[in-house]
């Protein structure tokens, strides 16, 4: 296994090299880099404004659900079911929050790391779940919201199938490879 002391540094390098590399290549190819950047930035800002309504709706749902305590109750309820797939019970809240909220999931996984450590079985499974799934509802709402699609068809069932598969396979791969 590769051991790297400060992984954050690699992430930083990728970002810096990407940004500088794009500008350098543009310069070499004689692209008016500043003007082109402004055009793109304007478009990005417009795209951000288009996703605002969907973002408002989703933030409202998630804030209400978190405040109501329903998530904690659902975690307790789902725990025995989850044990059947050899998924550690500590990861239940993560599985429930992950499809809804990225920042919520970050808070949950930090808590799991504090409670049982990042290198414990539950900590590793939680990491794999976090790294291999996305905030499904956010993505669906924002992507479709931006083009005015209201009939999402079978998108959500298919996306949730992917999430559920990810959760189960996460426990499976950690058991197989790391234990």
């Amino acid at each position: 296994m590769v051991h790297i002391e400060n992984f954050g540094a690699i992430g930083n390098d990728i970002i810096i090299i990407t940004a500088a590399g794009i500008v350098l290549l543009g310069l070499v190819r004689k692209v008016p880099v500043f003007d082109t950047f402004l055009e793109g930035a304007r478009e990005g800002l417009a795209a951000a404004l288009r996703i605002m309504p969907a973002l408002t709706a989703l933030t409202l749902c998630i804030a209400m659900i978190k405040a109501s305590g329903a998530l904690d109750a659902a975690s307790r309820l789902a725990s025995p079911l989850i044990g059947a797939f050899r998924i550690p019970p500590e990861t239940t809240p993560l599985m429930l929050v992950r499809p809804l909220s990225g920042s919520g999931a970050l808070a949950v996984i930090r808590q799991i790391f504090t409670d049982v450590g990042p290198d414990s079985y539950a900590g590793q499974v939680a990491s794999v779940m976090m790294g291999s799934t996305e905030t499904t509802f956010y993505t669906v709402a924002v992507y479709y919201g931006s083009v005015g699609v209201k009939k999402t068809g079978y998108t959500i069932p298919a996306a949730l199938t992917a999430d559920l598969t990810g959760m189960i396979v996460a426990a499976l791969t950690v058991t197989l490879f790391l234990h």
Binding site: G11, L25, G26, G44, A47, S127, M130, V140, V149, A170
Partner: protein
């Protein structure tokens, strides 16, 4: 579908909050969430603007065309309905590249442009998702990342002795999740349109 998800979450939260004595917290959440969204939007909009700017430069320098050529066989397989070398195909490619590198902030604006280009290319204005749009959104919900940068940072912060040791597990797991999602797309598409 989003209508039901939205209604279900709001009503569940309201009923549960009142029933379990968390009414003050839920009420506060309703009042606060609008402001929180604006805060979130400011962060997201700034990041999206920066990455869209850089991507515009990358496009004019021919970098995106090069990446598109590299990923084209995969895209043709997954999204057969896209016009060859069209804007949609290029944006889908760049969105994939950004996702693989773990640059979520760059992936979103490109994904949104891809959606917009698909809508124009396919001439859809009836509020229905096309098969290509659905596949593309499912691909984005399954998060195919080679380098989940944020996760590595929190694992390091939490004192992990081997923050990257789980990477092979993550690759295998996201690949399984993506495959399951795409298979489900195929199955459900069969149900949705038996005549095609």
């Amino acid at each position: 579908m989003m209508n039901y998800v939205f209604a279900f979450l709001i009503i569940l939260a309201a009923a549960w909050g009142i029933g379990s004595g968390h009414a003050p917290e839920v009420a506060a959440a309703i009042l606060k969430s609008g402001g929180d969204t604006v805060q979130l939007l400011l962060t997201v909009a700034g990041a999206m603007s920066v990455w869209s700017g850089l991507m515009a430069v990358a496009e004019k320098s021919g970098l995106t065309q090069w990446a598109t050529r590299l990923l084209r066989p995969l895209i043709r397989l997954l999204l057969p309905g896209l016009r060859r070398d069209g804007e949609a195909e290029q944006c889908v490619c760049m969105n994939l590249v950004a996702n693989l590198l773990g640059l979520g902030n760059a992936a979103t604006p490109l994904g949104l442009r891809a959606m917009n280009a698909m809508r124009r290319e396919q001439g859809l204005n009836d509020g229905r998702a096309s098969a290509e749009m659905t596949t593309f959104v499912v691909m984005n919900t399954a998060s195919l990342q080679l380098l989940p940068t944020t996760l590595m940072v929190i694992r390091t912060e939490a004192g992990s002795a081997d923050p990257m040791g789980i990477l092979p597990c993550i690759w295998l797991t996201s690949l399984s999740a993506l495959t399951a999602g795409l298979l489900m797309c195929l199955i459900l598409r069969g149900f949705a349109s038996p005549k095609n």
